[in-house]
Symmetry: C2
Subunit: 601 residues, 2 copies
């Protein structure tokens, strides 16, 4: 099954060019040099490079995970070779300005390129995605000197980077970090503290590592309002860009994870000798808002990682189900009849349809969200920019958390289809699952995403963010309503939309009354409901495109569009109905969890 | 957290002595020497031994999994020490007749003892549970000589055993096995073929390994009707019980699994030199029914393994949530206020309640099913024996598959509660998950369990098996209905019962019309619905006991009973309502999966 594709290119084209019209982004001046051809070429280059340089060591970097020898992180050589090829091809700068040597691609297309690397090898891709994040943040908040010394080498693929937020005692609760930053006579800072869960925290894969570190300047406000952001390079950089002394940041330990083993995850100590030099990025005490400025993109990145791992399991189990022959139809009583392919069994088809519905539904939503980033950053119309931002704020926790949860379930189905073989490390689907399990935990655990969605996003701009979502969904319902074949689905989505609206109204009213604990008690289920609503929405949009295309499509294209309609049907029949029970629970403001007492367990 | 208990002993007492009355089994002559004291003593001994000799190497045997050196299986020495202690304490013979040196315990109590070993170390416990199965089967179908030569040494803890069913090309589809057995002049057989996924297939943990092998005698019927059962010892055994020559069965490879790594899983070749000696067990061509005679117990064993792994994750994450302080209540705006324990957060409580509801609900159902085994095998009243068997037939696939699916979800919650820590191998919850994931695959994949339940069990004795379940559930509804505090739950269970009945009627009518593929297309969701019904039933039973006990319980006992009521409430409010969507899908005889075509994917 070496021929298993990294991605269903036909589906990608469908999302980018049939459901969406991504080349229309080229109407913005920033992307005016681009067109469908350059977008497609960038994606094809990412695909081929991912297949050639990232996929081949995916299993090896899991089996032979990074380890410490005499305090130095050892990583199999294929990782550096893959990253070097990635840099050589210019991908670290795919979003950067042309005058910085960048490709100046839209975020949407850059995300699709990242997706290729993620589905091939999410661990090695992780180094590159972190570097993107650091460069993007420095682009917005860094001084010209910081950009020159730290950002430009990242864009050139010479440096990598990290995000240092969590500490051993403070993961979800960043207000409780204790790392400090003390100003020095020359205006630089001395950083002191420990950071946990730092992906890419120490290695020799690049000339330097640029850590973005959250720390508190003594005397500042307590909690999150006293957090500042610092750039802390592994090696200091001289003013002329040449490497300086080793900075006082040390790897103190490596975490041994369930999955994503190929990307070293470390416990870092800053300033053990009191000599850790850091440079303030942006303004004092603005560290968290600055970091969160990049958070939507980071979280969509987590979502796309989850989706591409879901995709990897789906593609593999689909090929397996086509090839492996086992058992007979239940009405076939002749034991001498030949076994049928697994894909002939209804329950296997159910698991394949479920994976397809989850993965392709979430992918379409994530790409839709990505286009909002480009609109927000480029549209000449300020109100369009603002509306895109509001839409993005609501969709981000859904793309992150729903994809993380449900694409793990998709991976679980892939294991089940392979049966005993799926349970062994000789087949890739168990690694897909292990790798994916992280996505519900990092970049804000999914419970935090749910509180963000219900507690913050629903109230944004006096509820306008939510109203925009309702309006967008209603528009799709109206549009699909013109197609009689889709009447069942547009009706069902209309019912679901009303349930979501009623539920949102009840919960926001509860929160507005000041019953915060009660209103947020079932936030996870609210996110689940909203996620199903949005995925059903993307399926209705996809079905409308497919239904229209069917009547004019060549016969070779018919199966693809029929597949889209079948997956839509699956999601509406098998998955969407689950939200009614959630809506009832949420509307009842159920207090079961609040009333449970710790000593009753 | 070394003090984390293997099991909540208070809950165990509740199930065995408050919800059920297991000492009443001592009314049967076979168990008349026993009483609550001997039952409790056996369980306590199992617990202490499991804690001392199985738990300490649970992580090590995962990290240092069995491997081949020069064709010999290498296993860390702690496994053999644990098994030796298990044998020394007499557990291999806990169900055996006293005159065979056994403890003559009921199956129910033996299962609870096994549960202690499983929660401590499911891999090492696996060797013992397989040996039980082989001994039990030989007890029923073996000749006196086979019992003497092969069964008795298992009871003495000197031999271990395996079940050799699957082949590389035939997992779920046993009718397609190609291993052959040819009769030899002396009445013994020569076995030739290959068997896959053989747990405990080769090792030096015991003096001998007794393989039970399914094979076909040439010239017999095709399919499952031509399968016979053979005993194939690793070493031949002389008539006086002394070890004979090495038999021609060889380990040809070891599978590297996601979890349960401590129990070697192997690919075995029988008769590579044409000299593999096997002995027919029972009658020719009766291999599968004979093997299935033990299947209910084997599948309840899988269920209890899943439950105890779910329990291990629950207990660990509960302790962690009590100790780890992180974040504040959402209405606490003062960042200087101290962080609260994780257990204070509503979403963490939700995940703890979910684990409790799943694990304790499934445990109560499994133990209830186990008592049916004892009634079936011991009741003097033939109609009671028959009814117990019918009840058991229906409950077995539910105990196996529902527990396998949902206790994995419970383990997933445990990982989420621990967050980043839960994702590392420094904490045990990720191993619990990996170990547990097997239980939906082996001993009949859960899709097969669902077809067994819907396609076979609903029709058993003209539907009497199902009617007995309805009657039992109705009796619990009636009983709980007398308690006004439980009115919400007894009403909800009555509604769920009617949904299940209507759904069953529709599906069985469809099957009776000969629409087999359509009727079975959504069997997995039928099992899901029936599973939720049965777990809700056990929660109502538990709640009724707790509610009655509350009014008379000492204050120190109140939290325990309140916890039972809260978990019942959780299951009825958060989980049970999901079945209405399943019932609607099933009653509509939805054909989405059947109509999907392979080329549409």
């Amino acid at each position: 099954m070496a021929s298993t594709p990294l991605i269903d290119r036909r589906n990608l084209d469908f999302v980018l060019h049939e459901m969406l019209d991504t080349p229309s982004l080229c109407g913005y001046p920033r992307f005016s040099e681009h067109g469908r051809e350059t977008f497609d070429a960038a994606i094809a280059a990412a695909h081929d490079l991912a297949l050639a340089k990232f996929a081949p060591h995916n299993r090896k970097s899991d089996a032979e995970e990074p380890h410490l020898v005499d305090g130095r992180v050892q990583i199999i050589p294929e990782v550096k070779l893959g990253l070097d090829a990635h840099a050589e091809a210019g991908f670290p700068a795919m979003m950067a300005d042309a005058h910085d040597g960048g490709m100046q691609l839209p975020y949407t297309i850059a995300l699709v390129c990242d997706a290729m690397f993620a589905t091939a090898n999410v661990a090695t891709a992780g180094y590159t995605m972190l570097a993107h994040g650091v460069a993007n943040l420095l682009k917005v908040y860094g001084t010209p000197a910081q950009q020159e010394l730290f950002m430009r080498p990242i864009l050139q693929g010479r440096f990598l980077g990290t995000m240092c937020l969590s500490e051993p005692q403070a993961g979800s609760s960043l207000g409780d970090i204790t790392t400090t930053a003390t100003m020095h006579a020359d205006g630089s800072f001395r950083i002191s503290g420990a950071k946990m869960w730092i992906s890419g925290g120490d290695h020799e894969l690049s000339e330097n590592i640029i850590h973005l570190v959250l720390a508190k300047i003594p005397g500042g406000p307590s909690g999150v309002k006293g957090i500042s952001l610092f750039v802390v390079p592994r090696f200091l950089v001289n003013a002329d860009g040449t490497p300086g002394a080793r900075n006082d940041v040390q790897v103190a330990g490596i975490n041994h994870k369930l999955g994503q083993r190929g990307i070293v995850n470390s416990f870092l100590k800053f300033g053990e000798r009191g000599e850790c030099v850091g440079f303030l990025v942006g303004r004092e005490h603005q560290g968290l808002p600055q970091m969160f400025h990049m958070m939507n993109e980071a979280r969509i990145g987590v979502g796309i990682g989850a989706i591409m791992l879901g995709n990897a399991g789906y593609q593999y189990s689909l090929e397996y189900a086509r090839e492996r022959r086992q058992g007979r139809h239940p009405d076939q009583k002749d034991p001498a009849s030949p076994p049928v392919a697994l894909i002939e069994h209804a329950d296997v088809r159910r698991m394949l349809l479920r994976q397809k519905a989850i993965v392709e539904g979430a992918f379409a939503l994530a790409i839709h969200a990505a286009t909002l980033v480009d609109i927000r950053d480029n549209d000449p119309d300020a109100s369009k920019r603002q509306e895109a931002q509001l839409r993005l704020e609501v969709l981000t926790p859904i793309v992150k958390a729903w994809s993380g949860d449900w694409c793990c379930k998709a991976n679980d189905d892939a294991i089940q289809i392979l049966g005993g073989y799926g349970y062994t490390r000789e087949y890739p689907v168990e690694q897909n699952y292990r790798d994916n399990r992280l996505n519900s935990i990092h970049e804000g655990a999914n419970g935090i995403q749910a509180i963000d969605l219900l507690g913050r996003k629903t109230a944004l701009a006096d509820g306008t963010a939510l109203k925009l979502l309702w309006r967008d969904i209603q528009a799709s319902i109206d549009e699909a309503g013109a197609l009689p074949e889709l009447g069942e689905y547009s009706d069902a989505l209309a019912v679901a939309l009303r349930s979501a609206q009623r539920t949102s109204d009840q919960l926001t009213a509860c929160l507005a009354r000041g019953e915060i604990r009660l209103g947020l008690a079932n936030a996870t289920h609210y996110l689940g409901l909203m996620g199903h609503l949005c995925i059903a929405w993307t399926w209705l949009r996809q079905a409308a495109v497919a239904q229209r295309a069917l009547s004019v499509a060549a016969s070779s294209e018919q199966p693809f569009y029929q597949g889209k309609l079948a997956a839509c049907r699956y999601f509406f029949r098998y998955e969407l109905p689950a939200i009614e029970a959630l809506a009832a629970l949420l509307q009842a403001l159920d207090a079961t969890t609040l009333e449970m007492r710790p000593d009753w367990f």
